[in-house]
Symmetry: C2
Subunit: 238 residues, 2 copies
DNA sequence: GTCTATACAGGGATAGAC
DNA sequence: GTCTATCCCTGTATAGAC
């Protein structure tokens, strides 16, 4: 239906078997031992959500997910208190998978620049436009305080964390002289995140018109800053 | 209820009087002469929408707007085919007002740089977070093809137009030597738009953490590019 | 502890009143 | 030409089955 793909994080493969009622077994207290079942169900919901978001974009409804696994839409809210929480969980599942992917690549090229990080992230994202759409949606949902309080907190914290990590990379670059000393690390971090996010939105809307990777390369050429660039017109070697 | 303000564009002041049924008068064909009325009604709906979006953010419902002017929510769709069209109209009303404001400021400082344009826009936007929220919402709604086709077309065209205008500014800057010749104008335009949009989202979420104007100034310092910067560490004079 | 039934408010859409 | 009634499909919320 839609040319949108999401990465399937490890451990969330679709559960094709019939409903496995482990509630039948009981422990010595006589209470249903349903922890394992609950965890599995949650995984099943998450996996199906990833699948349907990949197929139909963020527009996939809770009812469609519930139908697909044979429960009512209300049942989903037992595992995910709101649709927002499910969206967040899907994004986090991707984030975890993407992080280990990034680790793998990072071991190849040590001492990455701030833009390197975003560039390789952007390259990976090209394969999963559905996820990028979901991320962008979370980001603006977060602006609507009363309708999306959970999303607001999640996105706000994520921005803080990412900015802090990137600012640290900038400081490292300044110590090695790769980045100009006149660049404020926090400002540079905010700038790179903003550029990266904004470019991906433009790209989703107009893939022919905007090349995220190329524009980020432009930013990379600029970012060394005037101080170090004055020395020479050299390429950043990383 | 909410510390959100939108600019009230000229000609859309709230219509406080009772319902003015000009349909009573007829022209020589005997048909109701309702053009004037329809135009007024549309203005009234638009004004009330601006008011309620300012008060409650984008979350204001069609029903609340309809209630506020004494018609059913379905009636609004006679003037605005969908809620998206109403959102777009509100944004366009702002855009028009903002454009004449920008013209006024531009006459003061001739030959503006590409970032100058975004900087002064960002300064004006600081006063109207509700509008910035609405713009950001339009932008990601546009990604959802089947749910928001009208928004998609509007936003896509707007991005194209803005990028083209800014790219032209970059070319001007390259002719005067203010911008390095090694900077691709289209890429620079996409970059500045992306940074500007992305920063405003981060600012809305965390006003203490991100200073849009200051980060755009950083980008401005970077943007002259290596070629012209190699010559000297001078400030852009504009 | 896990889930269904059900009700409600929101946006979208249509038929039809007048 | 302007608008209401009404229906469908969302996500949210609660009561209660088991």
């Amino acid at each position: 239906m839609r040319a949108i793909r999401l990465a399937t994080p490890p451990g969330t493969e679709s559960w094709s078997g019939p409903y496995d009622d482990r509630m039948a077994s009981e422990d010595d207290t006589g209470r249903a031992r349903s922890y394992r079942k609950a965890a599995d169900r949650r995984e099943q919901v998450l996996a199906k959500a990833i699948e349907l978001f990949a197929e139909h974009g963020v527009e996939a409804s809770l009812r469609s997910i519930g139908d697909a696994i044979g429960v009512s839409h209300a049942a989903l809210r037992y595992y995910f208190p709101s649709r927002d929480d499910l969206l967040i969980a899907v994004y986090q599942a991707h984030e975890a998978a993407d992080h280990s992917e990034a680790e793998k690549q990072r071991s190849l090229a040590a001492d990455p620049s701030i833009v390197d990080v975003m560039k390789s992230s952007a390259l990976r994202n090209r394969e999963i436009p559905g996820l990028v759409e979901l991320y962008a949606t979370l980001t603006t949902d977060a602006l609507q305080q009363e309708r999306h309080p959970a999303t607001r907190e999640f996105v706000r914290e994520r921005f803080r964390r990412v900015r802090a990590e990137l600012a640290e990379l900038v400081r490292q670059g300044q110590r090695t002289g790769a980045v100009g000393a006149d660049v404020d690390p926090d400002d540079a971090a905010a700038l790179v995140v903003a550029a990266s996010d904004g470019l991906q939105v433009q790209w989703l809307l107009d893939p022919e018109a905007v090349d995220v990777h190329r524009v980020l390369r432009l930013l990379e050429q600029l970012l060394p800053g005037r101080v170090s660039v004055d020395a020479a017109g050299r390429e950043p070697s990383r």
